[in-house]
Amino acid sequence: MSGRVIVITSGKGGVGKTTTNANIGTALAKMGKKVVMIDTDLGLRNLDLLLGLENRIVYTIVDVVEERCKLKQALVKDKKNPNLCLLAAAQTRDKTAVTEEQLKEICEKLQKDFDFILVDCPAGIEQGFQNAVAGASEAIVVTTPEMSAVRDADRIIGLLEAKEEIKSYKLLLNRYRPNMVNANDMMSVDDVVEILSAELIGIIPEDTGIITSTNKGEPIVNDEKSLAGQAYNNVARRIIGEDVPFLNLEEPKGMVAKMKKFFSNLIGKEK
């Protein structure tokens, strides 16, 4: 078995890299794939929180690198899905504790036992980014329809294109707000795709459920009713090669629809 190593990156912080990682990982595992997630954000680890695994971490990636434990010992199994594992980042060390070579080696070892290795990349374009990318051959660039996030994504795409090991990269548009797009107050999917001229792998709508699911330590893909959860599930299906149409996120258009929405919102508020 030779698993696919996918790095999830963005340049800008706070656009949803870690959330994306947790959800895609969980979705792939639910489909029966063997998945391991590597948190490379040394000193600022969060992937454990999103998965609700923060109390189960004994060893971290730094312990593996410094040979205080074996690689297998450091893999934390998910609570619900035995197909899903986490290799946590060290919280007390900085980005220099692991080198590009060491990360590459870890990825190569994990490729033998897992279908997917998802690498959670830290924000920025410094060594942390270089490390995270080192072992990967595919990338998902997360961005939001905001200027700063798109600009940083463009920079990241430039850096990824310069890397020979990265064979393909895809764009994931996060925190999309269809009502703002309809009011022409937010860049649309087409705008972002055209500006970055990159292939799209998913559109995730802004969803308050992301916050509540993080509160619980449970990825939103487990909630099948949530739109963001469905969107993440679709991303996972596209990753394994299924041809899944993009969710219809557009809100009703036209005067009548606007009135309807307007009144239904009003009624909703008064309850």
Binding site: R151, D154, R155, N184, M187, D191, I195, F262, L266
Partner: protein, 173 residues
């Protein structure tokens, strides 16, 4: 609270229809992004672009008489390809003798500088390289000598102002 919500919603509802008539913030964002990404991708600062523009004016005025202040040089993106777009409002074509005179004058200057010291010869070499690059761009500009060039000028002037503004911003920081 409920009343205030109601008021905001009613106002917001009517404002939304007004806003559609103005340039949307979305368009502003797209345009600003395109300009800034062009700079990021090419490493061409507004100063360099202006210098390139001036050099282009100098070069091309040997062959055509043009509105020097209206010559616009912009980077535009067409899919994955970044193109250098040159738009020149031509006042009139120069006649053969004028062009010959201009070229002869240039040759004379070149000959003079070749006689000068070795150090100066190095600079001359650089000039020759530049001429080669420029001649490539000259081909582009022949294609773009359509009528609609002049219409674009206002927009691109704005873009240039934006360049300067954004530069100031970064300097402030």
């Amino acid at each position: 609270m409920i009343l205030q919500n109601l008021y905001n919603k009613v106002i917001g509802f009517f404002r939304q229809t007004d806003a559609e008539q103005q340039e949307s913030t979305k368009d502003t964002a797209c345009n600003r992004l395109r300009v800034v990404l062009m700079q990021d991708r090419t490493n061409l600062t507004p100063e360099l672009m202006e210098r390139m523009r001036r050099e282009m004016v100098e070069l091309l005025s040997k062959y055509v008489e043009m509105d020097k202040d209206a010559l616009e040089l912009n980077l535009e993106q067409d899919g994955e390809q970044v193109a250098l777009m040159l738009s020149i409002p031509v006042i009139r074509a120069k006649d053969e003798e004028e062009i010959k005179a201009a070229l002869a004058k240039e040759d004379e200057e070149k000959a003079k500088s070749e006689e000068a010291s070795e150090a100066e010869e190095d600079i001359n070499d650089d000039d020759n390289e530049k001429d080669e690059e420029d001649s490539e761009k000259y081909e582009d500009d022949e294609e773009s000598e359509d009528g609609d060039d002049i219409e674009e000028d206002d927009e691109s002037e704005d873009a240039e102002e934006d360049f300067k503004e954004s530069k100031k911003d970064t300097e402030d920081k």
